[in-house]
Point group: C2
Chain length 349, copies 2
């Protein structure tokens, strides 16, 4: 792309959505609009859940982190995401989680788009929480407690504002600087922001609680006595083996909903309880095959870990936003005669 080389044919070129382009697309649409769109698209794909190939993510663990591949397909399109999780990265000024992904056509196996997915994952994670909250929260819920004010926090707040009518956000983080950052970022966006001194204080009066903390350990971010009747919880931060956020007693009181049960058993809050602990998959509530919230007093829990179908949805949504003039990658070898790869190489000399 920067040297004087033969020009590739059109079939060789695949659109690439860089970080800068991703941000430009979000601003063109508007962040809250994008979060609403994504929530609708995730709901539509969850409603046709049985058509998707579903496999737990393929993880490569090391002592200090994990690299995962998350593939899925609906028979027409195939998508995968590459995502790492390295809690120690922030000490080196790097992101804990970075991601990129590819969308492909099943009929040919050819990629349709490469894309950054660090930003896109933040959006789809928030949109998934919004979908769970819309589906499970008590009627009239408008106060959100946000425990963990890191990279995901503002997206959660704005998705729940845009989709679920949240108007007040009560913030807490063990690091006050994170709370201050989050409060500053959310100022002037039509939300009442309350900075709190403890998780207990943040939960006071909240109808919805989202936990999105980042420590890779069995933590207790929420204690049982912090959860009043009727509250809906989105537990987002507990998303890999050995990383949880909730006291087990909360699980024993709550009706628990998950994305894909086999994966959540390994990665979610429910890794703390036995295999006989009953959960429902969210898509079953959306299609009427399972009951959602029973009454105004029930505690509902969305034990979110992030599933490949959400990334599939997000990449398909993003693909629809790519406009003429987008950057293209010369990544598909495209000889005139498909059997003559060698001739293509030699003619390039």
């Amino acid at each position: 792309m920067m040297r004087d080389l033969p020009q590739p044919s059109a079939q060789a070129l695949v659109p690439f959505v860089s970080v800068a382009e991703m941000m430009a697309i979000i601003h063109r649409i508007g962040l809250e609009e994008a979060l609403k769109d994504l929530t609708d698209r995730i709901e539509a794909d969850f409603r046709r859940w049985p058509v998707f190939d579903k496999t737990p993510r393929v993880a490569s663990h090391s002592e200090i982190g994990v690299i995962e591949l998350m593939p899925t397909s609906d028979g027409q399109r195939y998508a995968f995401k590459y995502v790492n999780g390295h809690p120690g990265n922030t000490r080196a000024g790097l992101q804990t989680v970075t991601a990129f992904g590819v969308l492909s056509e099943v009929a040919t196996g050819y990629p349709l788009m490469f894309a950054e997915m660090t930003m896109l994952t933040a959006l789809r994670t928030a949109a998934t929480s919004a979908l769970a909250t819309k589906t499970l929260a008590p009627k009239g819920a408008h106060v959100l407690a946000l425990i963990g004010n890191g990279a995901q926090a503002e997206f959660q707040a704005l998705a729940l504002k845009a989709v679920c009518g949240i108007d007040t956000v009560r913030l807490f983080d063990t690091d006050r600087a994170a709370t201050a950052k989050c409060a500053k970022n959310l100022a002037g966006r039509g939300l009442t922001i309350v900075e709190c001194d403890s998780a207990e204080a943040a939960c006071e009066g909240a109808h919805v609680i989202t936990t999105c903390t980042a420590d890779k350990k069995l933590a207790t971010v929420l204690h049982d006595n912090m959860i009043g009747a009727g509250v809906h919880i989105n537990a987002i931060g507990g998303d890999c083996p050995g990383k949880t956020e909730l006291a087990p007693a909360i699980l024993n009181r709550a009706a628990t909903f998950v994305e894909y049960e086999p994966q959540t058993r390994i990665e979610g809050e429910i890794q703390q309880v036995g295999e006989d602990y009953k959960v429902q998959e969210i898509w079953q509530v959306l299609t009427g095959q399972a009951e959602g919230r029973k009454d105004a007093a029930q505690v509902t829990l969305f034990d979110g870990v992030g599933f490949a179908i959400e990334d599939f949805t997000a990449l398909n949504w993003l693909h629809d936003q790519v406009q003429p003039g987008a950057a293209m990658l010369d990544v598909i070898a495209d000889p005139d005669d498909p059997r003559d790869l060698f001739g293509m190489l030699m003619r390039a000399r």
Copy 2:
């Protein structure tokens, strides 16, 4: 990359080896030198086989093809390849197999390089055959029969010339145009080329036979009576369930060597025989843990299917060839404060 957007930081940028750049690198080094280098690097990595994470590839099958992810890691570096296999693609002027891949650092999970891998896979597949041939062929072998003269053929011929001293190549393909293409491409490269009318004729006098046909079915490219004493066979084309090239009688006579037994049981020629059929992994021959060729009369078979470690090696080799000024992808969101992804998005407005 083509619009007026904020400039990403250095940490956001990952080198990208396009198809054009890949071809330029091969020509800079020289194709036969590159094949020799790759063979040496694959041998070195096979010798430290036990340090690698090994999982069978993650395949998504449809009625007309397959999309696969092939990850592996040595604890320092992580690599994966995306590869499709769609035999019907050639009818639409598309490649049967296209591939791309990513090399990453295990310590941070950050990608180090994106690369086209259609061309690179052709090289590493040929280099792996050369390694198997160097290890298993009879002494003084210099005549190669090449059955299947498609996209992989010339690379096989030149790797076996460069690494194993092959000086004569006898060509056969059911499509005479493919043979003519291959003969033309190999002309003037220090090889005696013989175009043959049948697979039987091609095998006459050959010390080494490579089969690299493309049909996705149980075919019999080689019959038992075509295989003389002492011949070494590289069976490369039989590489997925339902796709084989050899008569089972050949398997019963030959000493068979594979890359990674659990994968080859599913994908290789040995899917035709029972689980009790004995094979050796090539790396065990290289490290002296298993016997290679016993004597000059033994028929040896390398049942090659392509394994993730070869792609890992190829990507690491390629990474060493990337020079300053290479194209870079803005694919890693890199906020000043890692917890402030939202702030980065807002400042880009």
